[in-house]
């Protein structure tokens, strides 16, 4: 954050943002700080007991580790699917570019709940794929695609791929084609040009997109609940349980502090990558 503020000078129109900042501080930041402060309180005195509980209860840590694992798998898959997709769109004619980008953006208008349930229709035990395979006689019993980690990852990738493709595509269009032509006149072949010029230039946007996808996966709630079949515990579902069912707000708040701290560290990386991109 500080790098952004020091770079951009404070302008006279800054005061126009002040009302929004006040609303955010009172309506959003303050409640969060009060909630997080709860993690240091037990019987109205300052304590680390909630954090000691957290370490001594392997269940909570396992769920956190599981959440990070799902986030890592999702990120890797989004990179592997998203980068070639963005690169491919870049080479299309303007008309097809618009069609492809629209196809990527349109799902944003569909409720996440509907998109999640749609996967049951496609990949469920009696979904299109399994029924076709059964009819063809290729399998004897339905293949269990959903209600496991695979199902959750399909759901998260489906929702998050645009977050990877769109910024990546925007950054790729900004790469100066003349550099590539210059390399070609100097005798470099296409593979060399891609790996030594194009890829390094798009790498900051790729890294920023990856961190964004990773951070967003950490907060997923509906997808693990529906496509995980309750078998894939993730942090948001555990927090819901601790806040609405149990209520152990102190433990919930200490888990949130851990999650927030890790997310802020990741966000610093994100800022670094996006700054590198801007500095280019």
């Amino acid at each position: 954050m500080s790098t952004i503020i020091t770079r951009s000078r404070i302008t006279p129109t800054m005061w126009m943002v002040v009302p929004l900042l006040i609303v955010m501080a009172i309506g959003f930041n303050l409640p969060i700080i009060m909630m997080l402060a709860k993690s240091f309180v037990q019987d109205q005195s300052f304590t680390f007991a909630n954090y000691i509980d957290l370490i001594e209860m392997p269940v909570y840590l396992k769920v956190l580790v599981n959440t990070f694992k799902i986030a890592a798998i999702t990120t890797v898959c989004c990179v592997l699917l998203g980068y070639p997709l963005a690169y491919w769109i870049l080479g299309l004619s303007t008309r097809w570019k618009i069609i492809c980008l629209a196809a990527i953006v349109v799902p944003f208008w569909v409720s996440i709940l509907v998109r999640t349930y749609a996967w049951i229709v496609i990949m469920g035990n009696s979904g299109i794929i399994n029924r076709s395979l059964l009819e063809l006689g290729w399998i004897e019993a339905p293949i269990q695609f959903l209600y496991n980690e695979f199902g959750v990852v399909i759901g998260t990738i489906n929702v998050l791929l645009p977050f990877m493709v769109l910024p990546l595509f925007a950054s790729m269009t900004k790469i100066d084609q003349r550099i590539l032509s210059a390399a070609e006149t100097l005798g470099a072949n296409h593979v060399t040009i891609f790996w030594r010029i194009f890829f390094p230039l798009s790498a900051p946007a790729l890294a920023a997109g990856a961190v964004l996808v990773f951070i967003l996966t950490l907060g997923f709630y509906i997808t693990p609940a529906i496509l995980g079949g309750g078998r894939v515990p993730m942090a948001a579902n555990m927090l819901d349980l601790l806040i609405n069912q149990m209520p152990s707000w102190e433990v919930a708040s200490s888990i949130s502090v851990v999650l927030l701290a890790l997310t802020i560290i990741l966000f610093m990386f994100y800022l670094r990558f996006t700054n590198e991109e801007k500095a280019r």
Partner: protein
């Protein structure tokens, strides 16, 4: 930390001032009360069956808010800003809320209820709705008669769905293992988890929302599910049995620190909820019955056994013990999560 404390006490000051303003306005004359309930068809049944006659009699408007949760109740009581005079709570949550000191006793003299089942009439909770966790399957699938059948994958093949809540699923696991319904509590956790181990590989979905099991059954995602009775009995595509169903009660409770005039008005609404004829109206919106033991005379004989509290059905179900569940909630949840992580 010092500055934070000062800051927080400032905030508390501001909220308590607004609370005083709000409560002095309310005591003048109660014109409306707000209740926090589950929403959906259940909320509509409250509107049609209880709120309508109550407002007609007293002129007090009732505003429904939803969904309810123990977290919302805790937030209300701790911030000393009681926005809802009645809060719907599942039976276990009622006992958890009592243990955390979030509830006020009801004024049963003022409620002056019609006859009620004893488990629905407790110091700080008014049991207004009975629901059961029952076995269900799509029409045309081989019928089940017990949880032992549900656990029997060999003779009743297919995927299962069970609630992702230990308070519901552990008693079912014990019934499946042959424990007598009246000897369920205190739950033998070792035995319950051992029983679950036998079926866990066939459980495709551990569901969290009541809407999930009927959908999973209709889509043939699973062949058998434990589901809430109200979601099943009206569905022509599904079949079910109340045999060995786990009967539970939903309560209305009053948050601690509520304005007395508001509370007095709310007792009148609870009185309407105790009347058998109003409960019958509620069943037209959602197939859950109330705590009246007298519904059988007022319901057509062919519909009577759709409901969990008909004399026939009450006899063949097991009654959950929410007070035991609440006092062991932390342990249940810890072991449940550990079990699920091992899946």
């Amino acid at each position: 930390m010092v500055s934070l404390n000062r800051f927080m006490s400032l905030i508390k000051g501001v909220t308590s001032v607004s609370f005083v303003v709000a409560s002095t306005m309310a005591t003048a004359q109660v014109k409306e009360i707000r209740i926090l309930e589950s929403g959906g068809p259940s909320g509509e049944s409250i509107e049609a069956a209880y709120i309508k006659p109550f407002t007609a009699k007293t002129g007090v408007k009732v505003i429904r808010e939803s969904p309810t949760s123990l977290g919302k109740l805790q937030a209300m009581v701790q911030s000393k800003n009681i926005t809802n005079v009645l809060v719907e709570l599942g039976s276990t949550n009622l006992f958890l809320a009592r243990a955390t000191g979030l509830l006020e006793p009801l004024d049963w003299d003022k409620i002056d209820p019609d006859p009620m089942f004893p488990e629905a009439k407790i110091e700080d909770g008014f049991g207004y709705q009975y629901f059961s966790t029952v076995m269900a399957w799509p029409q045309g699938t081989k019928k089940l008669n017990s949880w032992a059948d549900f656990w029997n994958i060999k003779d009743f093949p297919g995927k299962r769905a069970l609630p992702d809540y230990p308070a519901y699923t552990l008693p079912l696991a014990l019934l499946a293992d042959g424990v007598e319904p009246e000897k369920l509590y205190p739950l033998d956790l070792e035995r319950a988890f051992k029983s679950l181990e036998k079926i866990k590989d066939s459980v495709a979905v551990w569901w969290q929302a009541g809407a999930q099991p009927p959908q999973l059954l209709e889509d043939k995602e699973v062949q058998y599910a434990a589901a809430w009775s109200g979601r099943i009995v009206d569905n022509p595509k599904l079949d079910y049995t109340y045999q060995q169903g786990l009967l539970q009660v939903s309560y209305f409770a009053v948050p601690k620190g509520v304005d007395p005039a508001q509370k007095a008005a709310a007792m009148g609404l609870l009185h309407e909820m105790s009347k058998a004829e109003n409960q019958i109206v509620a069943t037209q919106t959602v197939p859950y019955t109330g705590a009246s033991p007298d519904i059988q005379d007022k319901l057509p004989a062919d519909r009577l056994n759709q409901y969990p509290t008909s004399p026939d059905n009450k006899a063949i179900q097991a009654l959950a013990d929410p007070s035991w569940t609440a006092s062991n909630a932390k342990e249940l949840e810890r072991r449940w999560q550990a079990f699920k992580l091992g899946l």
